[in-house]
Subunit: 431 residues, 4 copies
């Protein structure tokens, strides 16, 4: 008999679904997860976790891609209007996220678990074939959808919190639960790391639901997240009447166009894949006016930190040169950044043992391919640099459509397995 038997898993399975659906219905984008954070705080407080919220966990100088204050304020209003506890929201100081601590008082290592809580900027599908629409928990916030499963991550985290609260008497050491804002666009993790949020962790665990891993399967080490930088580049020139005084203009649109084409031509790298994309380009105001302003939203990626750094450095050269070519001024704002990190074999092995013992997975794979980028890598790197170990798992779930698609939906029954896997891992590490 395992210590895990003391938990009422049936209740948690029902809770996970209810929580996920509530969060799914009220999605909040990066840095605006006020309602979500308030729900987390309220629930964890009741379970006895020691909390710090919002600004307390954020290094403001390191924040990337956060909307301006007016937008933040309007999202705070919405969060309160949609039932977010105003007392908790006011305590957050206009920043989101929650960190919850449990100290058993017994000597032992510290385990940190990380759950990301933000949604994606896409409109949710409204067809009857889309379960959230059919069953009434589709997004009520326009152009926002939990289309990447962070609603499930949050629900899993809340259930893990309840399970661990129950298990506490059997544990030693400390547990920290990190509910991170702004994973999308790799915006939130870095500011938490810079605040020292994972500095005490001996072990760090995180997971992602879905991807290419089907229901019933757990991947112990999710591989291949690309290092990435997200940035906005703004060119400022000088407007002029395009027919009457063309020589007086400094054409920001042309600078941006020239930069864009060159960015897409950054040479590939011998050692692994690279990616560059200028996804958004907006410039100019009138047909007969030489544009004095252009904005491009871009990202660079590389398989390793070295490759990612190479692509980013080349991108900066290109932007700088293009600005000079057209006599314009350039400003680049980093809107997000993800690094690369490898899961530790030793820790993966320990967790693998604990998880296999649960007998709830059809298959526990050693590795599983991740896709795109993931900013938990900042946390993994920091923990590893300080001598700790980290693992990023892939929690299998059949999905109704690709991630970031408006018809995305998960297999809700996978969530409880994730809760159990975390609980078992912590129990293995702290008992």
């Amino acid at each position: 008999m395992s210590i895990l038997d003391s938990v009422d898993w049936g209740k948690l399975e029902r809770d996970a679904v209810a929580l996920r659906r509530d969060i799914h219905k009220h999605p909040e984008g990066a840095w605006t997860e006020f309602r979500t954070s308030a729900i987390i705080a309220e629930r964890l407080e009741k379970l006895g976790w020691k909390l710090s919220v919002g600004l307390d966990n954020i290094d403001v100088k390191s924040v990337m891609g956060r909307p301006d204050d007016a937008v933040i304020d309007s999202h705070i209003e919405r969060a309160k209007a949609q039932g977010g506890n105003p007392a908790w929201i006011d305590r957050m100081g206009k920043y989101t996220g929650v960190v919850a601590d449990m100290d058993t008082g017994r000597p032992g290592p510290t385990v940190a678990l990380r759950f990301d809580i933000d949604c994606v900027d896409v409109a949710e599908a409204s067809e009857a074939s889309h379960r959230p629409a059919k069953e009434g928990f589709a997004s009520v916030n326009s152009c926002l959808t939990h289309a990447c499963g962070h609603d499930a991550h949050t629900a899993i985290g809340l259930c893990v919190a309840e399970a661990l609260a129950k298990l506490e008497p059997s544990l030693k050491g400390k547990v920290r639960l990190i509910f991170q804002p702004g994973e999308e666009g790799c915006r939130g993790a870095y500011a938490m790391v810079q605040k020292g949020v994972v500095d005490e962790a001996d072990y760090f665990l995180a997971l992602h639901i879905g991807g290419k891993v089907p229901s019933g399967v757990l991947g112990l080490k999710s591989l291949g997240y690309l290092g990435t930088a997200k940035f906005d580049a703004e060119f400022k020139g000088r407007s002029a009447h395009a027919a009457a005084a063309p020589q007086e203009g400094r054409n920001a649109l042309l600078a941006a166009a020239s930069a864009t084409i060159a960015l897409h031509g950054i040479a590939p790298h011998r050692d692994g894949p690279t990616r560059v994309n200028v996804g958004v380009f907006n410039a100019g105001t009138g047909r007969n006016v030489i544009p004095d302003h252009a904005l491009i939203k871009a990202e660079t990626r590389g398989e390793t930190k070295e490759i990612a750094d190479y692509v980013y450095a080349r991108a900066m050269e290109i932007l700088k040169g293009a600005a000079i070519m057209y006599g314009t001024e350039l400003s680049v704002s980093k809107m997000g950044e993800g690094t690369t990190a490898d899961s530790d074999d030793a820790l993966a092995e320990k967790i693998g043992e604990a998880v296999r013992r649960l007998g709830i997975f059809k298959e526990v794979r050693d590795t599983a391919a991740g896709t795109g980028s993931e900013d938990a890598t900042w946390m993994m790197r920091r923990v590893q640099e300080r001598g700790g170990q980290a693992v990023y798992m892939a929690l299998g779930s059949d999905i109704a459509a690709p991630h970031h698609n408006g018809s995305f939906d998960i297999d809700e029954s996978a969530m409880i397995n994730g809760v159990k896997a975390f609980a078992a891992a912590v129990a293995a590490l702290l008992s």
Copy 2:
């Protein structure tokens, strides 16, 4: 003693200012001049002119750059809310502009006068140093301003209508007053010409206020309007996740960027100036998505029809080629077009004589430089092709800021001189 002495010029001078200020306060953009057209119609009906409005004067197939119906409807609502006579507005059939006819019943030639009535898409200055702001007739319509003097043109036209009604017993032949929508962007004249609005004219007269000509001066032949084409080019590609499946995208943004840079590199022409501008560029939706859509708003110009045609033809080659380069689909919509035309010397001489006799101008110049483009050239060309004569004059007025600038303002005292010049010219041609 002249027949012109029968007119009460003092009243008309006051009327011109009052009318101009009312129109200035309620500016309406191209194809949405419903209130302005209603005011014109109401006033001219009282003066006994025979009217046709809106759709009756427009060849729908030839319309360029008109907003879509939803926008038109909302502007109709605004026009009525701002006092536009609903009966007249409803008669317009969703198109703007007024044509007014006087037939003396006595054999003689037909003179057509053209007045343009639309405003510019810029926000009006609000500083106290800006007279419309100080004296309470600044634009109440956001981002719309009569910053090109068409308010004055309209007021002049209305006063000319009153003067000619008074002079009618002394005249022979016919007079047609054309209040044209959508001169900005060269959008309106062509559709009127194609409807035949100037087909009966033996003489055609138009003028522009301001420019580089100071108060007290009249230029008989305004020269140098560039032939121009305004067009929107849309590239449709295929979106794809920029990191996960870049090979599946067809990048509309890159097609548009490549086209834009090449458009600005169209070779100049031996025979005269050319201009190209891509003034607006919007593409893409998300940083990590290969953009499947890009829109550029562009214009080409040339000093003569031949040069303008050369530039436009090269632009079309470039757009077509760029679309192919990136595997995208192109659609080009012509949003406006102006041609070139020369004033007739013989007619200019006749008018010069009549105007000099008035003794109201410090100086009557033979020629004055026009700037940019002007779609009255379509009317001039048509009249000349059918054996008539045309003149485009420059009515001097000191201006507070360049045309199309939010601080633009005219010297209102210049207007009555414009009214007298038109009246004298018509009297000379029809008596």
Copy 3:
């Protein structure tokens, strides 16, 4: 005791060095290997192989990247002047390469071995530290060097011919030796394949010396050759005086520049690496003349045939579109092409056994990374499509400098191991 013991390996080891040095000293580029082919023919004839040379083995329509006739003629002259047997050269019909056949008369499979014989277009190092310079066998042909080891391949092939002639009584089936022209730039193999040169082969073997594999090691399956296309694109426009009549020009230089930039921006592929390079760009004749001609020399690559095809198809779209953009005419000449192919595991295993039994390699690896592209892949594909098996091996040799560098040199002692490996493999397959 092995049948291989009947060969005088000591003599062959000395022969290999002497042959390699003679060929090294007289390098000949793609499609001009007349002296080299004559030497091969002369020697093989003496050994009793049945020969076909030059045009007999080439499908002329499939030839890529061959110099024009005047260049061919001058190389024929040089070949004769440098000791190439004129009778053999005249029999070649202006095409190079040799195919040699042995038919044991005893029923059995057919084994084809391929050796490439051309050099690289680089100047050889002249420093004393460069052994060919020091020992007097450096290239006497300017800007031509055996800097990719094909001199060694040829020498190995000649020694294999001698060994197999000796072994013939112990063998069954048939052996074909293919001395292929123009591997550099992937120019020669395809035309031989199209002539049917490998159509009868049940087994196909080839190898490359050097690469990343050190002396003493044999890699059984050399992996990762990229599919590639080499092409020249020529843009023809119309020249004009750049100041006096710019509108009359059609700028071929700008078309090529625009194409070049876009080629380098072809989106990467999810499934594996891609490469694009425009390595040479020549356009225009005079500073003040709009260029009517531009030539670019380019190549595309992809890890698999599918990826390579994707990149090439995109490149063709870009070239076509760029030509249209600038009103120019495009002609594309394919100058070379390599495909991809995998070695067959079953054959590799058989050869591995035979080679390991020799006991001459420190290490026999299953796989070894190839680099760049290799047109033996055409032969492998054809053999496999017809039901045969193919293997491409990596023969380890320490190298003095990277391939294609003027200081490249091999470890000559590796050659005899290559000879033995081939002989052992053939013996294993045909006895």
Copy 4:
């Protein structure tokens, strides 16, 4: 009776044709006019002019677009082989051009006349319809032709020298004849001006034969030469194997391509025509190597000095920015430069009077359109800045083909009129 009657014009008319044909047959390009300079020096010495040659008249630091020493040396050899007086050539110090002075000893102003002596880099037509070919005086120097009439200018200058030597007793003041090298590409005048060659001139005269002015006509003021800069831009990057290590390259070809496209997109200028051309582009060595070197030969022009400066400044920004974009190094060499200048009305009037009195021209026009650029403008500007007056005339001549075309030929009978015009002008100014 005029003092001009003392000259034997019949002899000079024959001399002009003979001299022009000799020079035409032996054309020499910019900075290599050694034979031409020697012939000038020999002849003028005999006529009693005081001479300075080559280096004595050149400010070496200001020289633009001169070939390197090896090329100069080979042209010196050719000049001697083609009959150039070796003594004179050796005195030139490897620089070309001749300045000849006459001092009457009587007080009076100084008149400077300028004749340009270089040819164009085009091949001469060989058809029988081309008179120089038919009559045996076509160019014997490959790819060099007097296709711009400087052969005639030189012949005129030599005959003017003889006429003025005859007239000397009737004159006061001083005369300077300037035989300038390197007008093509605007390479020679500036270095002479910087040496002070025109610093003492009160009056400066020059002319061009042909253009758009027919035989029998003289234009007193040739207008509209564009200010121009000729420059070579070299980009240095880093080469790398395009497939094996693309990330290590710094692509000079792409930098040059990007710069080229942007150069052609420099915005036009309100105040007058501009021109930009990249006429030559050479980059790269091998198809599969990232190019580490690119060279473009370009020119910019503008109607006034201000416009020309604007275009050039923008070009330099573009080159600098493009170099940075691709991580390459840029070096720009100015290869030529022409400015703009206006002829003085007062001087033109005086000359007009003198020339009309000759009665040899069907028509003496006030102005005539020049085309392209002309570096005598440097001399005109210097003279005018120091208080003198300058005139640049157009000497009418029917031409067989446009300037710079291999079939260009002049009407030789026009030359003697040019000689007389110069002589009459000098006589009018100095008597």
